[in-house]
Amino acid sequence: MGIKMIAHLRNISGTAILALLGTTTLASADVTVEFWHSFGGASGEALAQIIEKFEAENADIKIDAQEIGNYNDIVTKLQAAIPAQRAPDAVIMEVTRYGLFADRGVLKDLTPYVDADPLKDDLFNFAREVGVYQGKNYIVPFNSSTPVLYFNKDIFERAGLSEDTPLGTYEDLLAAAQKITDTLGDEGITGIAAPGQFARWGLVMGNDSDLIDSVSGEIMLDAPNTIEAYEFMASLVHEHEVASPDGVTKENNGRDAFLAGRVGMMINSTGNYGRASSALGEDVAVVPMPCNKVCAVPIGGAGIGILSTSDSEVQDAAFKFISFAASPESNALWFSATGYMPINQKTAEQPLAIEALAEKPGIDVAINQLDVARGRPRPPVVTWMRASEYDLWQAMALGQREVSDVLTEFAERTRAEAERLKR
């Protein structure tokens, strides 16, 4: 019995070793690109389709795509993975937060790749610009967005608001939100979702200001127009009570409540278009961002960068994928499934994009906003500033501290941090 068992075990282990050797041999024939991204749900499915098409065309390259979490999670995990030598080969990086990684030499300069690729001429100017830091190209945009104003047509109607209700200024937004809350508050419906960080940045820009000037790098957190914008946003929650505080401590709660039909309006990335359409169907409407003092919106989203630690063969394969993902065909698939803006000038000629523009009302709002879209700064201090802003926003929105005090102090700290990072 014992001898039989040992012989059996020997056979099994022999087979296992052979299988293992076989796998290793097969795997070594391909180049595998480990790719970290932040897309789940419909976006994740669209990305999977793009990867599938790429792998079908490039049998020798395998894209090992891993959904890591949101942009913050990616930054955190990447930061820990680098000293542990466990970093991926390619990574999605939010457009304001890759500067630190470029600055520290973590990201590879993609300028030679881009210069030799059709993308050099095909990308829209805004898309090319978001990937450039200190004159070099570190990321190629994949999912570009601007914030837009979504509203729920059914809630508007029930609140006695027409679809043409003016929503172009802070005052207009407040009036509509107030009407919804007053009329439907008893049903647990609130007027507007508390703005998330991207929306806050957009509302500040629409008030003719910025958080950090993208050209000069000047810290503008304590500029009068920035303070005014934050005062308005905070008042939605704690003064007028037309936005739920739940969305202040957890930004996604506001979006989720909108998708669940519990909130009348939401300012969020155009990348939520697909999700909003599938959740609310024909009840969802999209309009441009309010132009309180000027019409201006931030360009958001992310691009794909390549790690400088990867082997050159893997880097070449990674760029091949990046180029494919930004090609008109892939970009049209991505645009039509998610609502993220086209980044390739030839995307609009693709049947999928033509169909989306014709059949999905509102999907073009972000594209039409491009005339007033501004790039955002990306020096290393932006990462620090964005990570620190959440707590301060909570203090302001929940009425615990005066907006002007908070922003004045925050501006000083950000200036000091910028100096420290420069050193």
Binding site: Q79, P245, Y390, D391, R401
Partner: protein, 289 residues
């Protein structure tokens, strides 16, 4: 010779494990606490005690320490008192008490992240079960996780709910170890229930209480997951426990030097607390009747 070194050979694997995963990181943390580093830079310049000075001068550090102290001060006694009371009620071996022990122990083996997510929704201001209950009773909503004076108490409640089952099981083991002859003697002498509990149960369960006190204080100073999932230290720092601050400084603000300094200070604090506890309470621990 071989006979002499054999015991050491047996403990060597474990020692090596502890050295690699405990002592080396501690030494490395002390080293990093005196350097300026953001995980990405190739150099780690030595800055002496600058990181400690920065921490001790910062409002955030003292706030985190205060919040953690309040958390520990209220959650630990609450846990131990409740656990001792419930354990004394579930001591008898009946099917009901066995069922109750299992039910109460379940949260202790449930994923903390799952608990955090569920309770985030339970305590949501506009969409939560608690406020639905309150408004159903004609009361007004409470901003459970947005009101700084309340959010920490919600975390204390959730943490107590999660850990209570473990404390109960340990207490039951401690209570069952007390010989019945002592209770029989007390009954013969006409001892009242409260008197018996105070004079027999409490002193003889002291080793268990001491163990749980040690463990729960350390645990209270290391709470992170519940905070990260439910509040991220907010609103406005009201639930910013020390480990949450450590994570924020080290992993979202990229300041691994200051983060390590905070870890070292926390380590020193916990050692100091353990020594104080052993000096003050350790003497009152009776191991025999």
């Amino acid at each position: 010779m071989l006979r002499r070194i054999t015991p050491y050979l047996f403990v060597l694997p474990l020692l090596a494990f502890i050295a690699v995963f405990t002592y080396v990181p501690i030494v490395q943390s002390v080293n990093l606490s005196m350097r300026e580093w953001d995980f990405l830079s190739p150099t780690k310049p030595f800055v002496g005690f600058d990181n400690y000075r920065l921490l001790l001068d910062s409002r955030e550090f003292w706030n985190a320490l205060r919040v953690t102290a309040v958390f520990a001060l209220f959650s630990v006694p609450l846990r131990l008192l409740l656990a001792l009371f419930i354990a004394s009620q579930l001591l008898r071996e009946t099917w009901v008490s066995r069922l109750m022990r299992g039910a109460l122990f379940l949260p202790a083996v449930t994923s903390t992240v799952a608990i955090g997510v569920v309770f985030s929704w339970v305590f949501s201001t506009d969409y939560g079960m608690m406020n639905a209950l309150l408004t159903g009773l004609g009361l007004s909503k409470v901003a459970w996780l947005q009101e700084p004076q309340i959010a920490l108490w919600v975390l204390i409640f959730v943490n107590t709910w999660k850990q209570l089952g473990y404390d109960i099981i340990i207490y039951i083991a401690g209570l069952q170890a007390i010989g019945t002859e002592l209770y029989d003697a007390a009954a013969v002498d006409g001892g009242r229930k409260g008197h018996v509990f105070r004079r027999i149960t409490v002193p003889l369960v002291m080793p268990t209480t001491y163990f749980l006190l040690m463990v729960s204080v350390i645990e209270a100073f290391q709470v992170f997951t519940i905070v990260d999932v439910m509040t991220k230290g907010g609103p406005a720092g009201a639930t910013d426990l020390v480990v949450n601050m450590l994570y924020r400084v080290g992993f979202t603000l990229f300041d691994i030097g200051v983060g390590s300094a905070l870890a070292v200070l926390l380590f020193i604090l916990l050692i100091t607390l353990a020594v104080i506890k052993s000096r003050v309470i350790g003497r009152k621990v009776h191991y025999e009747a």
